[in-house]
């Protein structure tokens, strides 16, 4: 800077030039030569240091971090700002220097000649990981909104709701299809774990997320059926790769895998053992929940329209083996055959006539066949999942006289708890905390009844639910003619014995496949869906299928499968910057419920029993979304490092399918007390969310050292330290100059440029004293003094004045002057409104009568 200060003013040069009578050219040259450069010398002494085994040139005075950055070596930082000297608060930039006992802080340690430095040892990564976990343990915020986090497929929920609210239903479906290809199917059959975690629930009621994407998906289906318009594609269709993939099983997992492989440009054939594709969607889920032709066939057209082929009636193990598929030239095989073997009750008399596999029963019903003698029978359904509910409600529809559902745990632990009341409305009954112990048969080995024992709830198990234990002496009998078993299913793995070398099963009898790369023991064979996980929900299977497709795609591209974990993380959609509704001050507005048909009416029929949203209802419901997404997502250094060091929520959940593991972002090894701060949105341009602050001090340093305003500093001591304004005052009352550098440097979303919100103003005329100050100060002439010593004000929506006529008048104001449209001299005249000029402004119906 010294050089700049000493640069002579131009006037001085001119005086000198006149004295020696030089030409203008030589003057300029003289000036260039005599003006000292403000920069530091071009060359400082250099030397070599060894970093991660590479010999790198370093300048004297450079820090280790600067040398690393200059040579493309990634050293993580959170508190470092290139504009400022190293601060050393985040302790992320630790490096090992040979000869030093403890790790060095690379943002302040200078590079020394011939130093040997390592940036990525196990110990350093452990220290950084601990640091990140410590931050997360006091990070009372979230990246993805809770709904999106809880969705097994991580759909961009705020994203599609925003599109819905703007009546962009096709775009909404497209956003949905980035993670799940079938918005309409999931809109009917998903258990909607997202809705349980909706933050809107804290205001009034959770958003109807499922019903909202159902509407969007239905619009796409409608335009496809009526007008032949292809469904939207989530991503650009990739050019053909020439690779062939066989997907075995056309259920949710297989269809989802096939869809994303088709988008990736591969040639896909889907094998299905049943006569029609759909798997459990077609043969397990009844028509009244999922209409087969309108919805299922319609959604599956998005696969056939991309060139996918279904080969139905071909069963793995019966008609072909995995070896056959490879021999037929398939480059990869995805096994997604689901779970079809219903678990046994394991009680005496189970082989009696009348004990029926629930899935077989549903299969028969779905084929349109009737179970003989079902009408008028007394049915007991054992189980608590969706299959048990489908069995119960189908039994009612098939005319059973008496339907009883028995579940061994409490209702709140029941996976299908949300459907119980509908089943009871239709005439069924439910008994909880009872388990079967014996089938009572007559002399012909036909079912007469089922004996139960009451269950008491013991200690919680791995799934967090209390384990049921029999209570002796509480046995009771329910008389019945039919027993439907619906206590879960396992996969049929008999196919693995022939032509499937290398395929292994787990100890639960499932297909053994890696949880990340989905590879089985056989090269090029992948496994996903229920066959790998055991019976789960449709949404979990679809998610599994998508991830498996990415893994298979990477395999077909010849990529390192070890990198898939990262690829998958990055493939998860990032919500965009969203701002349709502010977070606070929400009006109470209840959820729009779909109206169900009357129970007496629907229980005889297989038609869908819910009346879908109208367009305005769908838009209004989506508008309720609070858009909880962190605005910094995609820019957040903490999240990026969290993913890199495996400390984010997803990787911390050891066994998320079983509900075990850590539940929120603040839960990890160090979980303890944490802070919940209040958001400060008082400033016009900068939004402060202290709960997202990691106390790196960057804003404080930049504001003090670069800007000079010093709005922020560390406050309080110990664990309660927070980088904030003096005494936590509003940023408005600090010396803030709204330069935005604090928001720019913030590594997380604690300081953000504020989204603009339209504000509506109201004028209370009863309090107006006609001082006219508002008229004087308004830069846009929105308020004017009227002719009769009154305040004339107007409204955009109902113009009292003819805006077109107004625009034609040549007027001058400060605003037009600033815009350069006129000059200042006319301003005074412009401020006076003479009646002759103002008259045409009134619309014709209001002009002088």
């Amino acid at each position: 800077m010294a050089g700049l200060m000493e640069r002579p003013a131009s006037g001085v040069i001119a005086a000198d030039a006149t004295a020696v009578q030089t030409t203008p050219e030589s003057q300029a040259l003289e000036q260039m030569l005599s003006t000292r450069s403000p920069q530091r010398p071009q060359r400082t002494p250099t030397f070599y240091v060894e970093i991660d085994g590479k010999q790198l040139e370093a300048f004297e005075g450079q820090t280790i971090l600067e040398v690393c950055r200059a040579n493309g070596i990634e050293v993580p930082t959170l508190c470092y700002d290139p504009k400022l000297p190293g601060f050393g608060a985040c302790r992320m930039c630790v490096v090992d220097v040979d000869g030093c006992d403890s790790p060095q802080i690379s943002c302040s340690a200078k590079a020394e000649p011939a130093a040997v430095i390592a940036t990525q040892t196990d110990r350093l990564r452990e220290i950084r990981r601990t640091n990140l976990e410590l931050i997360f343990s006091d990070h009372n915020a979230y990246c993805l909104p809770p709904c999106q986090n809880k969705c097994p497929s991580h759909i961009d929920i705020p994203g599609f709701l925003k599109a819905n609210a703007e009546s962009q239903f096709r775009e909404s479906a497209r956003i949905f299809k980035r993670t799940i290809p079938f918005p309409s199917i999931l809109g009917r059959v998903c258990p909607a774990p997202c809705e349980d975690h909706c933050r809107r629930d804290e205001v009034d009621e959770a958003i109807a997320i499922r019903d909202s994407h159902r509407y969007a998906g239905d619009q796409v289906l409608k335009s496809m059926w009526d007008e032949g318009i292809d469904p939207p594609l989530p991503f650009e269709l990739q050019p053909k790769t020439g690779k062939r993939v066989a997907v075995v099983g056309s259920g949710p997992a297989g269809a989802s895998a096939a869809y994303y492989l088709l988008v990736a440009g591969h040639d896909v054939t889907i094998f299905e053992k049943d006569p029609e594709p759909g798997g459990m969607l077609r043969y397990g889920i009844p028509q009244y929940r999922l209409p087969k032709i309108e919805v299922l066939d319609g959604e599956y057209q998005s696969i056939t329209r991309l060139g996918g082929r279904f080969e139905c009636g071909k069963m793995l193990g019966r008609d072909f083996t995995t070896a056959d598929l490879k021999a037929q030239g398939y480059d990869a095989v995805i096994v997604a055959i689901g779970c079809y073997d219903t678990n046994d009750l394991g009680i005496p008399g189970e082989d009696a006539e009348g004990v029926i596999d629930g899935l077989d029963y549903l299969h028969t019903a779905a084929l349109g066949l009737e179970y003989p003698n079902h009408e008028g029978s007394r049915v007991v359904v054992v189980g608590g999942g969706y299959t048990s509910m489908d069995c119960s409600r189908t039994s009612i529809r098939l005319g059973a006289k008496e339907v009883t559902l028995v579940y061994r745990r409490d209702m709140k632990d029941m996976p299908a708890a949300d459907e119980v009341h509908e089943m009871i409305e239709e005439g069924g009954r439910a008994i909880f905390q009872a388990g079967p112990i014996r089938v009572i048969v007559d002399e012909k080995n036909r079912v007469k009844g089922l004996e139960f024992i009451r269950m008491q709830l013991g200690a919680p198990d791995a799934s967090g639910r209390r384990r049921p234990e029999p209570a002796p002496g509480t046995e009771f009998i329910i008389e019945c003619d039919r027993i439907l078993k619906a206590i879960g299913q396992g996969p049929d793995m008999t196919w693995a014995s022939v032509g499937a070398d290398g395929i292994a099963t787990t100890k639960n009898g499932r297909l053994k496949a890696d949880a990340v790369t989905f590879q089985t023991g056989r090269d090029g064979v992948f496994g996903c869906g229920d066959v790998r996980n055991g019976a789960t929900t449709v949404v979990a299977s679809v998610a599994d299928g998508r991830r498996c497709a990415y893994a298979a795609d990477a395999y077909l591209q010849g990529l390192d499968l070890g990198e898939i974990r990262t690829r998958q993380t990055l493939a998860e959609p990032q919500p965009e910057f969203l701002s349709i509704v502010p977070f606070t001050g929400e009006m109470k507005e209840p959820r729009r419920r779909m109206i169900a048909l009357d129970a007496d009416e629907r229980k005889h029929d297989y038609i869908q029993y819910e009346i879908p949203y109208s367009k305005s209802e769908a838009m209004a419901e989506s508008t309720r979304c609070l858009q909880c997404t962190c605005e910094a997502i995609g820019f957040c250094d903490l999240r990026r490092l969290g993913i890199e060091y495996g400390t984010t929520l997803k990787t911390l959940e050891k066994d998320h399918l079983n509900g075990a593991g850590f539940r929120s972002i603040t839960e990890n090894r160090w979980t303890g007390a944490n802070h919940d701060y209040v958001r400060d949105d008082s400033h016009a341009f900068i939004l402060r969310e202290p709960s997202r602050c990691i106390d790196c001090g960057r804003c404080a340093n930049v504001c003090a050292e670069v800007v000079g305003a010093a709005c922020y500093d560390f406050m309080r001591t110990g664990f309660d330290t927070l980088v904030t304004t003096p005494l936590d005052m509003s940023l408005n009352e600090s010396p803030c100059v709204s330069c935005g550098r604090c928001a720019e440097t913030c590594p997380t979303g604690a300081l953000m440029p504020k989204p603009r919100i339209l504000t509506k103003f109201e004028v209370d005329e009863s309090r107006c004293i006609l001082c006219g100050i508002c008229v004087d100060v308004c830069p846009y002439d929105a308020l004017r003094s009227g002719f009769d010593f009154e305040l004339a004000h107007t409204d955009r929506s109902e113009p009292m004045i003819d805006l077109i006529a107004l625009a034609k008048i040549e007027r001058t104001s400060e605003a037009t002057f600033i815009r350069g449209e006129s000059n200042w001299e006319n301003t005074v005249a412009g401020r006076r409104h003479d009646p002759a000029r103002a008259l045409p402004v009134l619309p014709s119906n209001l002009r002088a009568k």
Partner: protein, 420 residues
């Protein structure tokens, strides 16, 4: 706070004022700055602030630094609770401290020296100011120190607030009127210190010893105490002892001897352990007291450190886990909040300790304690952060069974069946 009478043979060089005022300063002026620093290096004088850095080397580095002006700072901000060694020193030997400070200033080439002292030490501040005033009147300090033509102004600066101010880089920021947070070293204060200029920061006990060395010679100093770290240190004995107060102890004296000098255990008690080094110190169990010398290396071997010079005797009535958790929590609350491992990590350590106290510790908590302690220490910015895990670590090392007592009570008692 009182001075305990020391056994025969223990030198008293810190708590006794110089016999001939300003003789050492006169000798230092005659020898010159470089030679003075060399004398201290020859004497093996190590800083008494806890770091144990060679005082002469520190001065030399400050003197050789390019930037100017240079400053000298005396650190009299002792912040550990129940430790008053600096206060006693200032009240007994303010002259020696100021003489040492003047010697330091002339050696490094500073024209301004400051004493950062706790504002609560009003007697000490008054004494220091009266010594400075009379020295200025006599021409010892001021425009020409003892007629040498060198200029030196000494100021007493009372400080108040965070306990972290005792840390040297924090002290420098506090003197400059900024928030008390440490700075990353290197660069050390000898390069970038007060107001960004080279600064020699010395503990007041170090300065008092400097005055003695320049009067009595390096060789005489080396005769005292542990040869690796010669001299005496001020130790505050408290807790379950017959008498409590400050002792001037030759380095290398065993902990058992120090305990005996304080009259041994209080009547009717037996000592279970000593907490050595203040709230971030380590527990040393009774069986190690005789074999543990009071020196940097000796204490480090058992997991403790000299620190502020605090020495708390604990009898059988003390529950080690409870005390360790409380001390850790105190340290966590006093942290300045600058670095993440310190702000959150030390608090988490305290929480883990508290879980042991409450009998709520899970099976993984012990390994977590060790893992977190290692990570916090290894990525530490200042000594506070590095040493905070000490009470829990040494407690776990020597009194592990006590940590599980509460757990056993919990599982056998009222909340049986609770599992984590």
């Amino acid at each position: 706070m009182k001075q305990l009478s020391a056994p025969k043979g223990w030198s008293r060089l810190l708590l006794t004022p110089p016999a001939i005022p300003w003789a050492a300063l006169r000798a230092a002026i005659a020898a010159g700055g470089a030679a003075t620093a060399q004398t201290l290096i020859d004497a093996g004088m190590r800083g008494r602030g806890g770091g144990g850095f060679l005082t002469g080397a520190k001065w030399r580095a400050t003197a050789q630094s390019d930037a100017s002006p240079k400053y000298v700072v005396a650190n009299a901000y002792e912040s550990d609770p129940a430790v008053f060694t600096n206060r006693l020193l200032l009240e007994k030997n303010a002259l020696g401290v100021i003489e040492g400070l003047a010697i330091a200033a002339l050696s490094v080439g500073a024209r301004e020296a400051m004493i950062g002292v706790r504002a609560e030490y009003s007697d000490a501040i008054r004494l220091l100011e009266s010594v400075i005033t009379s020295a200025e009147r006599e021409g010892v300090l001021g425009a020409s120190v003892l007629g040498s033509g060198r200029e030196l102004a000494v100021r007493v600066i009372p400080l108040q607030g965070s306990s972290m101010i005792g840390e040297e880089t924090v002290l420098l920021k506090a003197l400059a009127g900024k928030r008390g947070q440490p700075e990353q070293t290197p660069p050390y204060p000898s390069e970038v210190g007060y107001l960004g200029k080279p600064t020699a920061v010395n503990n007041v006990a170090t300065l008092a010893a400097v005055s003695w060395i320049l009067t009595n010679g390096a060789d005489a100093f080396k005769q005292i105490g542990d040869p690796a770290q010669p001299g005496t240190v001020l130790v505050q004995v408290s807790g379950s002892t017959t008498s409590s107060g400050v002792l001037e102890v030759p380095t290398g004296t065993s902990l058992a001897e120090i305990l005996a000098a304080a009259g041994g255990p209080a009547r009717g008690t037996t000592i279970k352990a000593l907490l050595v080094g203040g709230p971030s110190g380590g527990f040393v169990p009774a069986q190690l007291l005789a074999s543990t010398p009071y020196s940097c290396a000796g204490l480090a071997a058992v997991g403790a450190h000299i620190g502020s010079g605090g020495l708390l005797a604990l009898d059988g009535s003390v529950a080690i886990p409870e005390l360790a958790a409380m001390l850790t929590r105190w340290c966590a609350d006093e942290a300045c909040g600058k670095t993440i491992p310190c702000r959150i990590g030390t608090r988490r350590l305290a929480e883990i300790g508290q879980r042991f106290v409450d009998g709520l510790a899970g099976p993984e908590d012990e390994s977590r304690l060790h893992a977190l302690a290692a990570d916090v220490s290894d990525s530490a910015l200042c000594a506070h952060e590095r040493l905070t895990p000490s009470p829990l670590l040494t407690g776990m090392r020597y009194f592990k069974h006590e940590f599980y007592l509460a757990n056993v009570e919990q599982t056998s008692g009222a909340v049986a069946g609770w599992s984590k």
